[in-house]
């Protein structure tokens, strides 16, 4: 291999998002993420952090700028967006498990339909992932029979089943009862340790400090601060960030 691999797996350049109602959700947001890096995005609600995360797999279209995943322009009309999305796992605030399928079937569905894996292969991989997120005993339960924390762990397993190179987390613990936050964060921590590239939107400052390689602060659609966790939390220089941290810590 003589070809040099670009260390940046996600490159967002001057991303603009204006909703049809005129709301300017993202204002020229630029950010890049290296392979294996964990980036945590924080900010007050309505700051555009979830919107920004969703532009990274085009669940949200962009009005201007450019997003590249692994060198491929998402906005290019020739890009097969389904192929990109298969490589970018996403975990939602409200889990969004498929309620008509058991936990294991949730995990197996996309590998079988998108990756065209056989049932046996998908089943074996699915069981392995259910074991990994600590739900081997509950894999034949329907989502309605699982607690919030368990559902979110199934959702993580479902995303991992596609063997993605990037994982996006959109406030994964915000809908959980406090006692269940830990079990989900533990799974995410072990993923980070394995070297998964992760972009995490969260309000869990402890997680940001402990796991993140970089922390990003967004406010009113702008990327305000991008720092290492130590400098971010211990010596914030930006006044807007100081105010925000004063409110949440």
């Amino acid at each position: 291999m003589t070809e040099q691999i670009d260390p940046c797996i996600i490159v967002a350049r001057e991303v603009d998002k204006i909703y049809p109602n005129g709301c300017h959700a993202l204002k020229k947001v630029s950010m890049s993420v290296n392979r294996g890096e964990v980036v945590v995005v924080v900010g007050p609600s309505g700051s555009g952090k979830s919107t920004f995360l969703r532009t990274l797999n085009q669940l949200e279209t962009i009005s201007g700028g450019d997003v590249r995943i692994d060198g491929i322009h998402l906005t290019d009309s020739k890009t097969d967006i389904n192929k990109i999305r298969a490589e970018v796992g996403m975990v939602f605030q409200s889990f969004n498990l498929f309620p008509h399928k058991t936990a294991l079937e949730n995990v197996m569905l996309a590998p079988m339909r998108v990756r065209k894996q056989s049932r046996t292969v998908a089943d074996e991989k699915g069981r392995e992932l259910m074991y990994k997120v600590g739900l081997a005993e509950r894999m034949h339960s329907f989502p309605s029979q699982l607690s919030g924390g368990q559902q979110q762990r199934v959702a993580i397993a479902r995303a991992l089943a596609m063997a993605p190179s990037i994982m996006l987390f959109d406030e994964p613990t915000s809908a959980l009862d406090p006692e269940m936050v830990g079990e989900v964060l533990d799974v995410m921590k072990s993923l980070a340790k394995e070297g998964m590239t992760m972009v995490v939107v969260t309000h869990e400052m402890g997680f940001a400090r402990e796991v993140a390689d970089r922390v990003v602060f967004m406010e009113e659609g702008e990327l305000v601060v991008e720092e290492t966790p130590e400098r971010f939390f211990d010596n914030p220089t930006n006044t807007r960030l100081q105010k925000f941290l004063g409110q949440v810590l």
């Binding site: 797999n57 669940l59 389904n82 192929k83 999305r85 298969a86 490589e87 970018v88 796992g89 996403m90 939602f92 409200s94 969004n96 498990l97 498929f98 309620p99 008509h100 399928k101 058991t102 569905l109 996309a110 339909r113 998108v114 329907f142 989502p143 309605s144 959702a155 479902r158 995303a159 596609m162």
Partner: protein, 316 residues
Amino acid sequence: MDKQYNQAFWNTVFVLIMITIGIGVYMSSKSIDYTWRWERIPQYLINTEPQEVLAPFDGVIEIAADDKTLTVVADSGEDPFVISTYDLRDVEDGDIVFEGDPIAGIEGWQIGPITWGLVMTLKISMISLVFAMLIGLFTGLARISANPAVRNLAISYIELVRGTPLLVQIFIFYFFIGTVLDLDRFTAGVAALSVFTGAYIAEIIRSGIQSIHPGQMEAARSLGMNYVQAMVYVILPQAFKRTLPPMAGQFINLIKDSSLVSVISITDLSKAGREVVNSTFAPFEVWFTVALLYLVLTGGLSWMVQKLEKRLAASD
């Protein structure tokens, strides 16, 4: 808290009211001097009368010695007419018969006209149901399409069909479209019923799909599924389950609406009823029987849908 009712007492009240209604019906028939002739009805369901064999031409009867074969020798020199199995014999050896005279009877049973009507109603409803589901599914999906041409076509179809009476549509299908495309009356009837019911099913399916949380579509798409895969594996199974109750109502309407195809001379249950009334002069008995048979069809259908609903409730 809901008020607690005395179950035994109020159930008795229910039964008493039903009995009163029954007596009311009986009394009102008495007041118009109606003579009930229920015994005339069964033969129109299953006919056990021996079937008459008529002489095909003028001739002379010859009966074999063992009384197993009956032959009509034609006066005109045509080939003789032979019956080798009969259960009743109306003629003797050497009798002279004329064309159309009854000569023998064959025992056995046949399906009566009302039963044939029932079979026709069932057949036309089931075939229409399949087509209506297909039309409804595609129109329902078109109705929520982002493409304005597709969406407006679907809306126009739905509004056009829902805004005109089924009876008028059946006439249009039979007399206009049927003539242009050279359709027989059965096909025209099925087409009219399918197109009519399809419009209602489309709206049911649309509302079912829209009732599914948008996060389901996002989750499916975020896993790399395309729109069709997400629809087929994620959205539609959930929408189908949610729309079962209104869908069952629509299916029952379809069975009942199928009675209107009798206007283009399809002998369904209703038309068979009308014909039998003409030959029995027992309208009350016939129409009660026909109503009961419709009730059996629709009741059976709702029972099956309820079973299905229970089975699908496993993931709730």
